[in-house]
């Protein structure tokens, strides 16, 4: 165990990582609300595997890993968005893309002569390994996603609920759906750097799923999802720097525990409501 002084010193060193985690947690929670409403949890996983392949390719070529990961996830997001407008098509396309991406990524890593810790971190994340200029990029991308998501919030809500009526009411549904896929691709690429390709869903699916267990308010659900994402990401980093274990398991565990608590609380209020309705 380390003492308080060392901990505070460490905090100073990882300050930028904490900021990146905080922003990702907040934005990931918001994006997750739409991931849930559009039934896209599987798409998140598919995009993250291609993002991993892109990052691995960049590592092998000595290029910028964040850029590689961005390219991989944008290609996946746009392919899924264009080819998989209907849910069934979408799932089969993701099912095809995912192993292809993961396989390529593993190939690139196998060819990469560098340290194996770097290889592993793309799959399971290690934010401390990301240098400051790249962290700035991650924060910047997250903020762009946040602003764009707020701008398309209403049409996206309409399209998520009822695309046919939204189109009849003048929502450019194809544009909105594709724009969301691009935003999803961006935020997945950021998450891959921070918690790793295999664990992206802990920040893009779990917080929103937890929020939906305890509320169906259009304001409270996004707010809670953001708070849950924030607490998981920042809490995970703060706990991890005190010990020698990697960050990701802390983040995924906090996020999972929040979900379990929400499920228990939500289950109780739901059955109480049902009881009240029956009386």
């Amino acid at each position: 165990m380390i003492d308080l002084d060392t901990y505070v010193q460490l905090l100073g060193l990882v300050q930028n990582s904490i900021i990146a985690g905080a922003v990702l947690g907040l934005v990931g929670g918001l994006v997750g609300v739409f991931v849930m409403q559009r039934d896209m949890a599987f798409a998140v996983h598919g995009i993250s595997e291609l993002s991993f392949a892109g990052a691995a390719a960049a590592l092998l070529l000595g290029a910028n890993v964040v850029a590689g990961s961005l390219i991989g996830s944008l290609v996946a997001a746009i392919l899924i968005g264009v080819l998989g407008a209907r849910a069934r098509d979408r799932n089969s396309i993701i099912g095809v893309l995912m192993p292809a991406g993961l396989g390529l990524g593993i190939l690139f890593l196998a060819l990469y002569p560098g340290r194996s810790a770097n290889k592993f971190s793309l799959l399971t994340g290690q934010i401390i390994a990301v240098d400051s200029p790249q962290l700035a990029w991650l924060i910047g991308i997250s903020i762009v996603v946040l602003v764009c998501l707020l701008v398309i919030w209403r049409p996206l809500t309409f399209d998520s609920l009822d695309p046919e009526v939204a189109a009849a009411r003048g929502v450019p549904t194809r544009f909105v759906a594709l724009a969301f896929m691009v935003l999803l691709g961006l935020i997945v690429a950021v998450s891959v750097q921070i918690i790793g390709a295999l664990l992206v869903m802990a920040l893009l699916v779990t917080p929103a799923a937890a929020a939906l267990r305890v509320s169906s308010s259009p304001v409270l659900v996004p707010v809670l999802a953001s708070v849950f994402g924030f607490v998981s990401a920042v809490g995970g980093i703060l706990l991890a720097i005190a010990g020698s274990l990697p960050i990701s398991p802390y983040i995924t565990t906090i996020s999972f525990l929040i979900y379990v608590v929400c499920r228990l609380v939500g289950g109780r209020t739901r059955s109480r409501r049902r009881l009240a309705a029956a009386v």
Binding site: L150, F158, P172, S216
Partner: protein, 270 residues
């Protein structure tokens, strides 16, 4: 107001309708009937500008229709909103008012008042703040009517809006649509496969079947010889206590389903 001029549409080798001329007056209630696959929904999609005609044209107030025309209100087939959707009754209606607008999702005061008005006009104020996913099919459908009326449409397109509603809600929702066209002169195109719930409200009928169509008042169209001619096989139309029962339609499942359902509660059709 709404005019179709020698409109034709088909998919592949199958013609849905050919040389369709139709003109709908303000305040008119036109029911579009026909078996599954006769192109009822495609007709609505055409008017919504989402489906191109093979030939002919569609005009609204003299101009061609286009996608997302806000003078048209659209009430879709009853699809239940999944439980747990983070949306209250009033949010569903609000989407009709500002759901198409990009920008930070802040609802203005005027918009909130408009939503309250709409909720009141469809009798949904009582459950406006409950989660949509927890409401009954009939309650959800009332909210969708409110959503469709957001911009005071001159034309209301309804695609089987009564499907899978119980009789009381069928009456409630169809009364709502009927009152709207009487008070605001809104034309109504009402796609349905069972005319009985709206028989007392319908001005005219467009009957689509087998690539052909007939148009006229219910008494002119809903006759054994007219439908026999349309379907090319013997069809009988019976009237009993103000209800119409059609027997012998080749693809009879959908009709049977609703007639059977209605027969159990004949009093609701008065």
């Amino acid at each position: 107001m709404l005019r179709l001029e020698s409109a034709s549409l088909g998919f592949g080798r199958r013609t849905l309708w050919d040389g369709l001329d139709l003109s709908v007056r303000p305040g008119e209630f036109l029911a579009v009937l026909g078996p599954n696959g006769s192109g009822k929904t495609s007709l609505l999609k055409t008017i919504l500008g989402q489906q191109r005609l093979d030939s002919g044209r569609v005009l609204l107030d003299g101009g061609p229709v286009h996608r997302g025309d806000r003078r048209i209100g659209y009430i879709p087939q009853q699809k239940l909103v999944p439980a747990g959707t983070p949306m209250r009754g009033r949010d569903l209606v609000a989407l009709g008012v500002n759901g198409h607008r990009f920008g930070f999702p802040v609802t203005r005061k005027g918009e909130r008042e408009r939503v309250d008005e709409l909720l009141d006009s469809v009798g949904a104020t009582g459950y406006a703040d409950r989660p949509v996913g927890s409401l009954s099919g009939g309650e959800q459908q009332r909210l969708r009517v409110g959503q469709a009326l957001a911009d005071d449409p001159v034309l209301l397109l309804c695609d089987e809006p009564l499907l899978s509603l119980d009789l009381a809600h069928q009456r409630g929702v169809s009364d709502l649509i009927d009152r709207r066209r009487r008070e605001h002169d809104t034309a109504v195109l009402f796609v349905t496969h069972d005319v009985n719930p709206v028989l007392d409200k319908v001005d005219r009928i467009l009957y689509l079947a087998g690539g052909r169509f007939r148009e006229g008042t219910p008494d002119e169209v809903l006759r054994s010889e007219v439908l026999t001619d349309l379907y090319g096989s013997p069809v009988d139309v019976f009237r009993s206590r103000g209800r119409i029962v059609v027997v012998g339609i080749p693809d009879a499942e959908t009709h049977d389903h609703h007639d059977h359902h209605a027969d159990e509660h004949p009093e609701a059709h008065g």
